[in-house]
């Protein structure tokens, strides 16, 4: 069953990809290949394969269970929030946040998640910014305070 879901998704993807490729016509001078032949070929390569996947009998993979979906979506949302707030709250606070939520998913104690988060965030900040001379935000929120 999971293979059929994937096959339909890939079929739609290949169709959209191929149709979009049709639009890539260069204006004026062009070489022998042009811009659309290669992506069209990729779409044409994939279309029959998706059909084989749909109609063929395969050793089925496992679609994630409802519980797995909940956990993974939570874990993913945390990373999305991380990306959204990192400039505002800074690398250190954002990192500690991820450690707390992930730690709680593993059933670790509060204080342990906070302490490990603080240590990891500090070490990573020191590594990237002080040792490697790269940029990580300290947080515009804190800069406004001072």
């Amino acid at each position: 069953m999971s293979d059929r879901i994937v096959a339909v998704m890939l079929l739609v993807l290949a169709l959209v990809f191929g149709l979009q490729a049709w639009a890539y016509v260069p204006i004026g001078f062009t070489d022998h290949l042009g811009a659309r032949v290669f992506p069209l070929a990729v779409a044409l390569f994939m279309l029959p394969l998706t059909l084989v996947l749909f109609f063929g009998r395969h050793v089925a993979g496992v679609w994630p269970s409802a519980r797995a979906w909940r956990v993974v979506i939570l874990a993913m949302s945390v990373l999305v929030v991380y990306a959204l707030v990192i400039e505002y709250v800074g690398f250190i606070i954002a990192t500690i946040g991820v450690f707390i939520v992930y730690g709680k998913l593993y059933g670790a104690r509060w204080w342990k998640t906070v302490v490990t988060g603080m240590i990891a965030a500090t070490v990573l900040y020191a590594l990237f910014v002080l040792a490697l001379d790269m940029y990580l935000p300290l947080g515009s929120f804190f800069e406004e305070l001072f």
């Binding site: 999971s2 293979d3 994937v6 890939l10 290949a14 990809f17 490729a21 890539y24 260069p26 062009t30 070489d31 022998h32 290949l33 042009g34 811009a35 290669f38 992506p39 990729v42 390569f45 994939m46 394969l49 996947l53 063929g56 009998r57 395969h58 050793v59 089925a60 993979g61 496992v62 679609w63 994630p64 956990v71 993974v72 874990a75 993913m76 990373l79 999305v80 991380y82 990306a83 990192i86 400039e87 990192t95 991820v98 450690f99 992930y102 730690g103 998913l105 593993y106 059933g107 342990k112 998640t113 490990t116 988060g117 990891a120 990573l124 990237f128 490697l132 001379d133 790269m134 990580l136």
Partner: protein, 503 residues
């Protein structure tokens, strides 16, 4: 002798203190990366790419570092395989067959020792092979024109899909996904932006470090976090990590044979360490397993696959360096890093960057010696890493990845993309799609299109050039062969399935 002189020059380059330090860092990091779940050499290297670029590190040192992580990870991988029965990569599955039974019967020490020794022998034999074969192959590869390159890349795709251990069809579809991702950005030939949907961030194409880390590391984070219960007890008391002279001698010829098998298979595109280790295991079983002790904790059965998978890893560098066409996910990532630095591996690489090539070879000799030292007396220290609790390890892997990417690009889009690719990788793992073809296609896709474009401009638009030379026809034959064999296997399996359902 020419190769010998060049190698000596390579040693003088590799023995510079800074390069020695880099080799040491590479193999140490590689061992730990190979041991821990959730990282693996492909992620380790992908995470380091933005960091090394930001540091402006010398390309030779970068190559030495990445190679060190690459072969060092094989050593580390065998540690977790033997102690935990958790092969970090498929290439260690054959080791688990006898390695874990040995550990369970209280012989973890000798098992770890022989795997370190076997890895050393495999690595060393392969480095010697690399030294002699690479210059020969690159002389031969000069005859490759653009049409040959196009078909060779196609062959690499079908081989990797056929041999990735999953279903052939899924390997090919994964390749297709990678090729789609590769077309995003401004087309090099016509200047038309493709699949950018007006977003400037996509004009340069996808950053392959972002894609790789997302697909491999972040998906692994999701996979680990989904299984929050029961990580099992780790026994880190090893006893004496040494083998007796008798044990060593009984494995000796097996290790040499396996190293040669592993190296030759490693050179083939797409085949790699997994096939190599199983072939070596099967060969030794046929040759020396008279009493049927393989599978119950026979030391010779640990030595053979460990020697082979290490040799295969070094062998896999050959197509990457001499043809510029990598055969595996990890070598594809290394190639991507070299391309980003405007170093183009290929037939002329050894001529143009001879110092770099020979320094790499010399550093691999040195690295293998370091790994032997690290893994024999110090393995007791390394295994402590396995005690890191999951609630630290899992967010740790995620935050190193996000931190490295953000520190390099300061781009929120990159972080979002990485998360998206994490979900994609998670779903692909769940539905049994291989991930390596995606990366291989992402790196090779632009090269494939460029080769086609060059071939067509050579022939003035005549597609017949794709079938015009004997060499290119041989390559087409290989493509057909690598596609037909798994197809027949699938059909036979399908028929057996139908039969069993009807009766």
């Amino acid at each position: 002798m020419d190769a010998f002189q060049s190698l000596m020059q390579g040693f003088s380059g590799a023995l510079v203190p800074i390069n020695l330090l880099v080799v040491f860092l590479g193999v140490t990091a590689g061992t730990m990366i190979g041991m821990l779940p959730g990282i693996g050499p492909i992620n380790g290297i992908a995470i380091l790419i933005p960091i090394t670029f930001a540091m402006g590190i010398d390309p030779t040192a970068m190559l030495i570092l990445f190679a060190g992580i690459y072969y060092g990870a094989q050593y580390g991988n065998s540690i977790s395989t033997i102690l935990l029965n958790v092969p970090g990569t498929p290439s260690s599955v054959a080791t688990a067959l006898d390695g874990h039974p040995m550990a369970k019967s209280g012989r973890a020490g000798p098992a770890l020792a022989i795997s370190a020794i076997a890895s050393f022998i495999g690595g060393t034999v392969a480095v010697i092979g690399l030294m002699f074969l690479a210059p020969v192959l690159s002389k031969w590869a000069i005859r490759f024109g653009p049409a040959e390159y196009f078909v060779l890349i196609l062959f690499t795709f079908t081989m990797l899909s056929a041999l990735s251990g999953k279903q052939f069809i899924k390997g090919l579809l994964a390749t297709g996904i990678g090729l789609m991702l590769a077309t995003i950005g401004i087309d090099a030939g016509t200047g038309i932006p493709r699949y950018t949907f007006g977003h400037l961030a996509f004009y340069d194409g996808l950053d392959f470090a972002v894609v790789t880390i997302g697909l491999f590391a972040i998906s692994e984070v999701f996979l680990l976090i989904e299984q929050t219960r029961g990580t099992g007890e780790v026994n880190t008391k090893l006893g004496r990590v040494m083998v007796t002279a008798k044990e060593f001698l009984s494995s000796w010829w097996g290790m040499i044979r396996s190293a040669v098998i592993g190296f030759l298979i490693g050179v083939l595109p797409g085949a790699g360490a997994t096939i190599a280790s199983f072939m070596a295991y099967a060969t030794e079983q046929r040759l020396v397993d008279k009493k049927g002790t393989f599978g119950t904790g026979d030391i010779r059965a640990v030595a053979a696959p460990e020697s082979a998978n290490n040799a295969a890893v070094s062998g896999a560098l050959i197509p990457m360096l001499t043809l510029g066409v990598p055969g595996s996910g990890t070598t594809a990532v290394i190639l991507g890093a070299l391309l980003a630095l405007n170093l183009n591996p290929g037939p002329l690489f050894i001529v143009q960057h001879g110092d770099m090539f020979w320094t790499l070879i010399a550093s691999m000799y040195i690295g293998n010696v370091m790994l032997l030292v690290l893994n024999l007396p110090l393995v007791g220290l390394f295994v402590k890493v396995l005690l890191i609790p999951r609630y630290i390890l899992v967010p740790g892997v995620a935050m190193i990845s996000y931190g490295a990417i953000y520190a390099a690009s300061s781009s929120m889009t990159d972080l979002m993309l990485m998360t998206g690719f994490g979900l994609l990788g998670y779903l692909m793992r769940k539905t049994d799609f291989p991930l390596a073809p995606v990366i291989l296609a992402l790196v090779l896709g632009p090269m494939m299109e460029t080769s086609l474009r060059r071939a067509l401009s050579l022939s003035n638009g005549d597609w017949g050039i794709l079938f015009a030379s004997p060499l290119v026809l041989v390559l087409w034959g290989l493509v057909a062969l690598s596609a037909l064999v798994p197809l027949i296997r699938t059909l036979r399996r399908a028929r057996a399935y139908n039969d069993s359902e009807q009766h």
